[in-house]
Symmetry: D4
Subunit: 227 residues, 8 copies
């Protein structure tokens, strides 16, 4: 329980030990932090760690301001993500499959975070189950992936369909798209859990970030191999 | 509107006018009625109406006792349905598509009720979306139907997939199969409403009867034709 | 499962095969799309299909901008609907019955979409069950319809009342009108499912579009006739 | 306020002051009490009060045992109610209107309790809104009542319809009949609250007792008159 | 069931028969209506009825505009209520008891509507159960009322306490005040239904209007007397 | 932190270090354990600890069997609790206040567990807020307590009323008594959280045990005193 | 009980007796009150009581305006709290432990209110269970506290972990931080109640105030000691 | 895609193609199937596939009867699992970590299914977060795993704690243990999704099977390696 490994910035304690424990520096959740606070946390992480430094859910204005103070970072406005020192590709690859156009922002976050931590990403979109031929047309690409991240709102049925098509791990992300009976993503979350396809796993609503982190954990096992 | 058209049996008032209004005598809901009460209601309906007389959700013991008192009826134990004077076939046909083995009792009720009111029924089962090839193998049969009744529990994804494959009306029946996040059918009901396939309609959980009645309403429009 | 039939526009894949499968080109869901994206999708659909092209939930400003780029369309501001090449009347007719004044926008969407796909529409409003005489005064009109679309929020009781009055299909649309115990339409949705009137079907909350699409599916069966 | 007015029986403290405060001795809730406990409580109430003594939700076996120990009581098995010293009729009259056959036990409890406290009761059943003619046939009887108690499960629509037909107070009792989307009475409870008919009030699910008590409160105001 | 008694204004059908059926003209729900629409409806009601005409939930700006077009009305900004031709006092009196300061707007609506329909109103506030001495200090006033309207948010406990103190009808109005576990009034609504005080009735969340209408129904029975 | 302080019994690992950390040996949750397993765990705890050993939720049959194998224990059938080596009284005292008769089993568990860990207990029952005089009659006893444990189901209003009467800590236990809108205790739990009385705390539904443990934590602070 | 002890200000009745009953003047809930109303209430409390006067949830603008009218108060903008006459330290001390950065505003309110009523406060932050070493590094500080207030959103797991580490009372505050499955704090609230750590108590979502008041009740018992 | 690859047994269609698609024959869900049906399905799978054949959720009586008809299988009564032809060990290893004793049956199912498909399994139990030292004592074993399956009911906090300790994939299984606020596992499911530990994934309530299947998918990627 090592432990002096947290740096206290007054407004936050940064877990600089996480890279040693989990292979990746702490990822900063941008919501509710001022640009000044983000700058201080990012500098601390860059100084005490060697790997990629990420800040999620950052508005464009805040991003500009942070990048001016801490250069050499990149901002992906679609994913609302700031990245410094992205990881080199590891050879592990995922397909991010989004059911509809409205699911794209979440898919984008998943793809950008996964890329930043060294995962190869292919994105396919508009493959909802109401048009099965579009999904089946992507079958080979899905089967070639090390992992499939399924991003779907409304009834979330894409997770079940993909789960039956591929043998690799499937990480499902329910999204809050749709209206009425979709209950802001709760329906998709429950439906993905009740799925008839065995071995599917689920992350939080709209959490493209969570799915990418799950893929990162997977990529480490794959690299390690089995003995 | 003013109806002397109800017969008061003391413990129930039978709506003998319904056949005139809706083309079918009142269907008796068997749950919570004694065999003696069922006998009286059935006799009243047989006397005051000309069409098929149905009692749903009847236990085998009760059924035997009722049939002894009111002969010429048939009992379908899978559907738990009693029928007298079944309707002649109307030429309208439905496919009842059940996602999994556990959905069969509900599918059976839908099929038996539909048959009793003159609808032609074909049943296909085990066509859940986790095995798309089994669903696609039935595509032609589905497309030939006048209406498809989709029976599915768990995440209910079959409704969306069928909705995208066929152009005819789709009536979805969520079932209470599954466990945990399936919430006794609530998840499937919500998911079917949030479906990405346009124009799907939904009936109550486990209501094979409701789906068959919806199909009966459809069959009447089809017979009427349009001018 | 034909399939090269999707046109990839980069930001969306348009399902140009849907007209062949379902008798109607893909309907565009306007929410969250830029006018420029809508223009590209509409042009693709007009080029690859022959039937009506619809965009739902479009703001007036966006509508003006789209219509300038793709002329010959019509905008219905009450329904927030853009239409090109509306279908010729098919002879199939629905009554859209709205319980209260607040349900009118949803009823309007149902009516406009149904009209655009060739269905004849009559609208009756303010026929909520708290004033039964207003509903009963419309009885003949309701009974003449091929299908009744019931639009009701709050407790949604109109669906049960209409279901008992007519023999034709009833498609119920719960709306999010009302407050408190109405739970943004969830109460009406559940109540319509628990309805004591047999054979009623339900679509998603506020989905006038869904009800019209259900009616379109019905109209195709009616046209086909039965043999 | 300070009350020596409770009698402590060890296992319960009986509120013998309630008759003075509210015009009726405390009503005993039978569920979970042994016959011996009921006997002691009833004796205490008979001794310290003058008005009717009621025990609700009593099984037939327990009732027999209690009546043997405390004679001069009556047991109503349909209502599962024990009564000693029923009140003389006060001239106040209610109609108990039950939507369906399954709602009868709750209606029976409401009627039996109301009768025991001096209210005149007429019961009408099978007047659900799916058969409006049966409801309208009872219109005059409903309008003659001092109060209408509406007992309805499933979607509970009868409360709205009655609320629009009569000018007197309407007390709605949601019941747990039905299945699936009825949510054990929650749907009916919410729907009755969201009702489009103004001035309807609602009591707890299956609480025929609560509705009768509400009517008793009303009857006292009516007797008092206004000046 | 007479029925030509609705006046069609194009955007709404006004139920001008309601005064005959229920002793009060239709009350207009102001939300979502333009001042112009309100003006037309109010004029129709004033012309075809004799009693008070009310419009609820009207913003000050809209109220000014309506009053300019239809003079002789009064606007109560606290209750957001417009009234023409208020009823003469009937001698029936209610106490409106509000648990906390935040419940005052709802209490105000109840009081203003009740007054407009001829009921005498006394309001007591800040009598929540966390300070029982304040409630007990009002005991005599509460017991003198013909009916008590209890307005309470958060846990809604005031309804139970008042129900035990008075013998007259109690109409409970849950409010959406509070935060977190209060669930926007749902908790108070459920708690009031589960109340240990017998014979309490409940109306919709924040519906001061509903409570006043319930009181109006009560006042009519009281006036009628019993025979 | 690193603990060899757990004893592995194969089917369970007993936390024998807890007495050192928290001043009380681990309490055994009896549900789902065989008498044989309970015997082994109890023996382990008696051997490795000095303080009281408790097993909650034990059926009479299992209790008899366990006591035969591990003598010197006591069984409280009302609380379904087994105790060995009860603690000597510490001078800290609580009042357990139960709203109704149905809440007694939970109150009994709270009282028995508290007594076993050295807390003085007084129990008052039938003090629900619908009879405020019974509650107020206990005011002095409540105010003399070091802590009040409030046990209440249905709407749980007793917690708010007691919270306003006393200055000491109040631990509220919602119970699953009641029916319908009580939602098996969820309504009481939410209502207690939304309480208008400041500084009340809440434990899990039906958890008399949890309330007693909260009181035990309090008693330790009181004994420690403040400096 | 009889209280002339409330001062009626027209828009509110101030409970000036509360200091006598509970050892602390009534705390003013600022939300929804005008600065003018706050000024009047504060003046009343300062005049009729001797102890600290607090107003919670006050915006900076309102605070400035109130302080100008009632000098000698202090405003804590992080806690949004106004305080006059803070209590002298009592020697009772709490640790406020916040799981994440987003939980700080709630932790701040708890700390500021506790300090104002005489409790010594230490705050530790960023000790969520996903980084157990940061929590364990604070073990000694936690164990030295008289009470620990745990502030945590998302899954609220910190409450269970702290409950197992310390023997003193634990008051858990669920917060509405996080998104999706966190359900605005409901998930944390339920999880804290279902905690595997015995004797934890819970207050309302985001109620730093409630936790501080619970600690104040505790501090009074501790000061009193036990005999 | 087109599959003659399903064998129709009349009462079920067996997906004999699944081994080719997903590397494992279809797993049979035993609930609701007769021993005779299970026998037929198992024989079909053994004949058309080469890999392990599993039947989950089988009662001991049914198991005995099936094993008599289809010899060479093994029954694990703790996991209620039947297995024929278990897979040879693949070198991939998981730790199944169960929070409490009550979670063992679910952990057992996960372990037995994983073993049957060739995964090495170590089980650690009683490592709930209320006793962190027991969890930390297992740190090295957890960190050596290729994947950790966390089985936890009540508040499900173990998933967050493990997620912060290990770098490998974490699959969390919420269980329905506990009572009251645990909501039959829903609280744990939501809490695991709202977890503050990044990259955790979740399966359905009580689905030890689902977690093992997720691990099987992972093991295939690990074996494949990355290039």
């Amino acid at each position: 329980m090592v432990g002096q490994d947290a740096v206290d910035l007054g407004f936050a304690r940064v877990d600089v030990d996480r890279e040693a424990r989990q292979g990746l520096p702490e990822v900063v959740y941008g919501t509710g932090k001022t640009p000044g606070q983000v700058v201080e946390i990012v500098r601390t992480l860059l100084r005490h760690n060697d790997g990629p430094v990420l800040v999620t859910r950052v508005d464009p204005t805040a991003a500009t301001s942070v990048l001016r103070a801490v250069p050499a970072g990149e901002y992906d406005s679609g994913a609302r993500l700031l990245v410094w020192r992205p990881a080199a590709p590891t050879g592990f690859s995922v397909v991010v499959a989004a059911a509809g156009t409205a699911d794209r922002p979440v898919a984008h976050e998943a793809a950008a975070v996964a890329t930043a931590v060294g995962i190869g990403v292919t994105t396919v979109t508009d493959v909802g189950v109401a048009g099965l031929h579009r999904l089946l047309a992507e079958r080979d690409r899905l089967r070639a992936a090390d992992t499939v991240i399924v991003v779907a709102g409304m009834e979330g049925a894409l997770a079940s369909a993909v789960g039956g098509l591929v043998a690799c791990p499937v990480v499902a992300v329910p999204t809050s798209t749709g209206y009425g009976a979709g209950l802001e993503g709760i329906t998709a979350l429950l439906a993905m859990h009740a799925s008839c396809a065995a071995g599917i796993t689920v992350v939080n609503i709209d959490s493209g970030f969570g799915a990418a982190m799950a893929a990162f954990r997977l990529s480490r096992v794959a690299r390690r191999g089995t003995t």
